[in-house]
Symmetry: C2
Subunit: 356 residues, 2 copies
C-alpha cells in the first residue's frame, strides 16, 4: 500500500506467534499482546502466583532428538507445574524466545502447536513476551516462560510449613520421566516399541486439579513439585521448613522397567530417588488429616512415602529397617559433573545410589 | 555438618544472586524467592502491568566492550521502561539467567551490582527467577527480565487511543543512545574523553515519574517508550490507534555531535529519527490538553514534534515544508540486514535516510 510503511519483521513474527497460541484479552487480562506491557485486572479475593522457567536447546532438549511439539508442550508444562505446586489456577503466560534463523520455519510452527495444546489443557492465555536472535556464538533456541496463576487469598501452599509428624506424599509413580530420557539417550526412541514410555518425558502431565484441591481444602501443610528428583527436592522442602525427614524405600511408587530395557543398567529404586522431571507433587499432611486423606481425595493416586521429623537431613529407611542418609543426586545445572551434551546434563542415573 | 546434606550448587548460586539484589518479601510480595513461585497480594484499587525483555550477549551487549555493571543496569532499565510507558509504578522483577561457567565469578558480581543499583533507583524488589547453563553451542550470557508494576485501575496508558488532532510529544533529546553506541563501535570508548556521551548508552535513564504523571492525571491519550527508534516506534503507535501522523523535522530535539566525532559520518537528524535505545516516552495529548501542558508538567523536558492525523503512515515535514513518507529504519532483530556482531545488529545509522 503506497504511503503505508510496513511494520518490521519482528512484529510479523510476534503476530505469527500470537495467531498460533490462545491470546484473546478479556476477564483478568485487560490488555494483552501488542502494547508495551500487559495489563491485569486482579480479583480482590485472590492472590497471584508467578514463576519463570527457561527451556534451552542442548540443556533441556536436544536438536534432532526431541520433537518440536514436545519442546513447546514441555516448556510450558514445566513452568505451569510450579503454579500447580502452589495450589493455584493457571491464568496467563509470557513467552520470550531467542530464535536462530534456521528455526523460524516449520520447527517454530510445530513447537508453537505443542505449546498451544499445553496452554489449552492448562487454561492459559498468552499475554506477552519478547523475541530476539541468539548471539553470534549461540545457534540454539532458548525459551523463557513466565506463568501467572490465581489462588484464593491465603490458600497458596508454601514449602516452609512442614512440621515433625506430618506424613509425606507423592502424587504418582516416580522415575517415569527419567526412564523416558534414558530411552531417548540410548537411541531407542525412533521405533514404536517404547513410544508409550517416552510420553512422560515428552509430554509430562502436571497435577493442576490435585494441587488446587490440596490448597483450597487446606489439606497440605507444605508442597512443591518434583522437577529435579526426590533426593534433591525433598531436602529443599525440609530446608525451607527447618525440619528433617525419613522416607521408606518400600513405600516408594516406582516405575516398571521392561525386561528388554534392563541392559541399560537402570534400577527402579534409583530412578525413583534421583530421576528428574516427574512433575509429581511432593506434599506433607498433618497426621490428623492424613488418616482421612483417602476419603478426601477420592480417585487421586497419592502415595505415602515417609514422614517429617525433627532435625535436619533426609534419611532413607532400607527394606531391612536400617536407615542411611540420602544424598542429593538429582539434576543440578551448576555441579561440576554436568555433561552438557545431554538434556538435564547427565548421561544416566545408574551411578546414583544412597550413601551412608 | 554430618547428617546434613548440602543443597546443590544451583541453590548456592540463587542465594548469591538473592544477597546481591534487593529481595525482601513484604507488602505486595507475600512470598518471594525460595518457593516454587512468588505470591503477590494485589491491592484492590490497582491493576498490574507486566513485561518481559531479553538481554543477550552478542546481540544486546558485547563481551569485552560493555562493562558488566552496565549490562546489569541496562537489562533492568530496558524492561522497566515498558512499565514507565504504561504509566505504572515498578514493584517486582524476576531474573532468568543462562550463565556460562566463565561468567560465574567477578563478572556476575559486577553485573548484579549494576542491576542492584537500577533496582534501587526504580523501586524494584527481586521476587524470583531461574538459573541455567547455556547450551553446548552457546557460550554466551542471556538474561530475561520480567517486571511487574502497579497502576490505578483504568489509568494505564495504552498505544491504541491516539486520535487525529492529538499533539505528539517526546520526553527528551533523541539519538543520545545511538551516539553512545557509535562511539563504542568506533572503539573510542576506552579513554575519558567521550565518557559522558557513553552514559546514555550504558545507563539509560528512564521516565518513571513523568510516565506516572501522564497516566494519573489523564494527560496522555496514547503512550509508548522509544526503544527501537522513532521511525520504527511511531508507526507502531499509529498502527495500534488506526491513525497516521506527521512529524516536523525542525521540531525534533536532537543530540549534538561534537566536531571531533563528525568523521564518524553521523547526522543528528538521522540519529533522532532512527537511533534506538533512547527510552524516552513518545506520547500523544488531545489538543485541548496540549495548550495547558507546560503548566501541568512544570520542569519536565518534553518536546512537541508533530501531530496525529487521519489515515495511515507517518510523514516527515522537511524544513522547507515538503512532506515525505518516513520509512522505518530502526532496530529490528528479524530483518535480513541484521549484522550480528554488533549490539542491536547494525554497524551504523549513517545509511539511514528518509525516502519518498
Amino acid at each position: 500500500v503506497p504511503g503505508r510503511p510496513s511494520l518490521p519483521r519482528e512484529d510479523a513474527l510476534i503476530e505469527r506467534i500470537r495467531r498460533r497460541l490462545p491470546s484473546s484479552a478479556g476477564g483478568v487480562l485487560r490488555t494483552g499482546i501488542g502494547d508495551d506491557a500487559a495489563v491485569l485486572r486482579p480479583s480482590p479475593v485472590n492472590e497471584w502466583v508467578i514463576t519463570c522457567d527457561q527451556f534451552i536447546e542442548g540443556v533441556h532438549f536436544l536438536d534432532r532428538m526431541h520433537p518440536p511439539d514436545a519442546v513447546g508442550y514441555k516448556a510450558l508444562a514445566r513452568a505451569t507445574s510450579d503454579i500447580a505446586a502452589m495450589g493455584a489456577r493457571p491464568r496467563l503466560f509470557f513467552l520470550s524466545i531467542a530464535l536462530p534463523s534456521r528455526r523460524t520455519g516449520l520447527w517454530l510452527d510445530k513447537m508453537l502447536g505443542g505449546m498451544a495444546r499445553a496452554a489449552g489443557e492448562f487454561g492459559l492465555i498468552l499475554a506477552g513476551g519478547d523475541t530476539a536472535r541468539p548471539g553470534p556464538r549461540a545457534d540454539a533456541v532458548a525459551l523463557t516462560v513466565t506463568v501467572l496463576g490465581e489462588v484464593k487469598s491465603g490458600a497458596a501452599v508454601l514449602r516452609q510449613a512442614a512440621r515433625p509428624g506430618d506424613a509425606i506424599y507423592v502424587s504418582g509413580v516416580l522415575g517415569a520421566g527419567e526412564l523416558g530420557l534414558q530411552i531417548l539417550l540410548s537411541r531407542l526412541h525412533k521405533g514404536p516399541r517404547w513410544k508409550a514410555l517416552l510420553q512422560p518425558h515428552y509430554y509430562p502431565q502436571i497435577e493442576l486439579e490435585l494441587g488446587q484441591q490440596l490448597a483450597n481444602e487446606r489439606i497440605a501443610s507444605a508442597m512443591m513439585d518434583l522437577s529435579d528428583g526426590l533426593s534433591t527436592d525433598l531436602p529443599r522442602l525440609c530446608h525451607a521448613s527447618g525440619v528433617g525427614a525419613v522416607i521408606h524405600q518400600t513405600a516408594l511408587p516406582t516405575v516398571s522397567i521392561p525386561v528388554q530395557l534392563q541392559a541399560l543398567g537402570l534400577e527402579e529404586i534409583n530412578l525413583a530417588l534421583h530421576g528428574g522431571e516427574d512433575y509429581r507433587l511432593l506434599f506433607t499432611v498433618p497426621s490428623r488429616v492424613a488418616s482421612r486423606l483417602r476419603r478426601k481425595l477420592g480417585d487421586a493416586r497419592v502415595f505415602r512415602i515417609g514422614q517429617i521429623q525433627a532435625g535436619r537431613g533426609v534419611e532413607l529407611e532400607l527394606p531391612g529397617g536400617r536407615r542411611v542418609q540420602l544424598a542429593a543426586r538429582g539434576w543440578d545445572h551448576f555441579r561440576g559433573t554436568v555433561q552438557r551434551e545431554h538434556p538435564r546434563g547427565r548421561r544416566s542415573t545408574q551411578g546414583a545410589s544412597v550413601v551412608e
